[in-house]
């Protein structure tokens, strides 16, 4: 990665502060006087305390929720790593625009603004299509042969996410979800996960959109070769530059999500990761600057084996575990009513004093 782009990302990362510990303590004190046994709302209390510590204010404003679905293609698909042909990326983007995909249904039901971002689909769309056009390149290069992106492409993709996070802030959005669509992107995610967490490829490679055992074994061998090609001889996490990992074996949508997560944290906005691929972006952002963790929620834990490894690596507990493996931001948006519930409870419940309810015996 060249010095210019490195310093741009460093600048963003260094602007990220921790969520307020003072506000977290205040939030905990408030939760303890609400009419319920101490701590009995469990993870909902953790969620509302985290939201208060991020926002550094009581919940005066309602949540303004948005999901960003970043779409891009992957050169590695020519090696036969996916159950679906790569044209499906384009087809699913059109399905998003026609409101027919799972994420459309969930976003509509839970009042979440839906944004489709083309950051690298291998197709041309109509100018009339209502999407955000930030195509960096028609898909990544085949990482079995060369780095997936050039320095300039990586920087450009990260900046798409950064820019959208800044815009979200200026639009008053205060809860973002990152999702993706990209045939081949579990292959990139498994490669990144293996390198970042120093775990064997076999442990972090799953069936993606639905491979049989033989095809999964082939995918694993391809990823092992990719990892060896770009990072042979490197041992352990400490020596790996996360941006270089992203550049060599990542994807344009993963880079854009990394940018959005860094940008959200830098602007004090909470962001919900979805499944394996978006959590890969979160892990890269966390590797660049560990303070991003304070702004992150894990919407769910997917069926992809690498997802659990990444959640442990970052130190996130998933809100939902529903055996999903769809992506698109579906698990993140599905967690939003839970986050919203936590905030409404925090704001609207009576206190022991106001309701005249006796507290626990001492």
């Amino acid at each position: 990665m060249n010095t210019a782009s490195r310093s741009a990302v460093s600048e963003i990362a260094s602007a990220i502060g921790s969520p307020s510990e003072l506000w977290r303590v205040r939030a905990r004190a408030h939760l303890d006087v609400l009419t319920k046994p101490l701590g009995s709302l469990g993870m909902l209390e953790d969620i509302s305390a985290q939201m208060v510590s991020i926002r550094q204010e009581e919940f005066a404003e309602p949540l303004r929720k948005a999901v960003y679905v970043f779409a891009a293609d992957h050169g590695i698909t020519s090696e036969g790593v996916s159950a679906y042909p790569s044209e499906v990326t384009r087809q699913m983007v059109l399905n998003f625009l026609a409101q027919g995909a799972a994420i459309n249904v969930l976003a509509k039901l839970h009042h979440v603004e839906m944004n489709v971002v083309d950051v690298g689909v291998d197709a041309d769309f109509d100018a009339a299509d209502r999407m955000l056009n930030y195509k960096v390149r028609r898909g990544t290069r085949n990482m079995l042969r060369e780095a997936a992106m050039s320095d300039a492409e990586l920087t450009q993709a990260i900046e798409v996410g950064l820019k959208l996070a800044v815009e979200a802030k200026s639009q008053g959005k205060n809860l973002l979800a990152v999702g993706e669509m990209g045939i081949g992107n579990t292959t990139a995610s498994s490669a990144i996960t293996s390198i970042l967490t120093d775990k064997p490829v076999a442990l972090v490679t799953g069936i993606g959109a639905g491979l049989d055992a033989a095809a999964q074994a082939h995918k694993r061998r391809i990823i092992e070769t990719v990892v060896r090609k770009h990072f042979a001889g490197l041992g352990g996490i400490s020596v790996v530059d996360p941006l270089e990992v992203l550049r060599c074996v990542g994807g344009l949508e993963i880079a854009a999500m990394t940018g959005m997560i860094l940008g959200a944290a830098g602007n004090g906005i909470a962001v919900v990761a979805d499944g394996f691929i978006s959590t890969t972006a979160a892990a890269i952002a966390f590797a660049i600057e560990p303070r991003v963790r304070g702004y992150l929620f894990a919407g769910h834990q997917s069926e992809e084996p690498g997802h659990r490894v990444l959640l442990e690596y970052i130190g996130l507990k998933p809100i939902l575990t529903l055996n999903m493996r769809l992506g698109e931001g579906t698990g993140a948006v599905l967690a939003m009513p839970i986050i919203e519930s936590a905030m409404h409870l925090y704001n609207e419940m009576a206190t022991f004093t106001s309701a005249g309810v006796s507290e626990a015996k001492k």
Copy 2:
């Protein structure tokens, strides 16, 4: 239990049919042509298939959701088994009516009709209080000395729930949640769970609303004495009459919830169990008639150790696991947006054909 009440419950139970296997198969076939990898919506697909098999129709009608919070006191509280004084049952009922409790906040946010049912609170309420008045008795008897209820009281409490389920059906409600408030009711639930599942009391007794270790040990000893007193010499599940267990060591709200669950199943309505106490009612209903399982959802898994044992006993997988232990129906209502999401996805997603998306390679 006398013959009259036994036969009334038997009649209800025998009217319960299984959800339609034909409709479940149809639902699975529909799910498989939606624009997503096969099975990738995980438990959401199980939920929507179950709802279709219960309703035996495509999802033409929107969900009409209601929660019933059954409140009652427990004679066993005079033995010091709870962290809170028994007056809190009455105080929390008033808090429900004033919209200040956690369940009020969640029901309002998720558009769930909220009903408070006095089935046995040890207090008199104002006629102006907007609740359903079905008080059977001002709290159960102290089960350390005698059976918690008489035959007649048990029958009356069960019939409250049955009646409300029939009314819910006639009002077009199609998704019910059962919740409760009753200081002392984890003690009754642990006793029932131990007898029903043949597990040691120590394994199924928790901290309730918040006991310290010494108080929890005291609670456990009380429950062990109660179980020995009423069911000494009985070995194994098969010889235990679930209604007799409910009568001797149960609670009026647990009996009413049992009635509502039997009534919901008998009327083809889905019902969401909440935490340990409402799942105890579900377990009694299941022990009476195993076909009720087909109508049940487990909203969440609570922190009470007996809850997991009961979910396994019935064979239910919890939708949420958020370390909650509050009751009131909170975990059940919190699962409703997930159930609703599953149904909207089933109804609104495009198919591969309609969206022009390629299917997986064969």
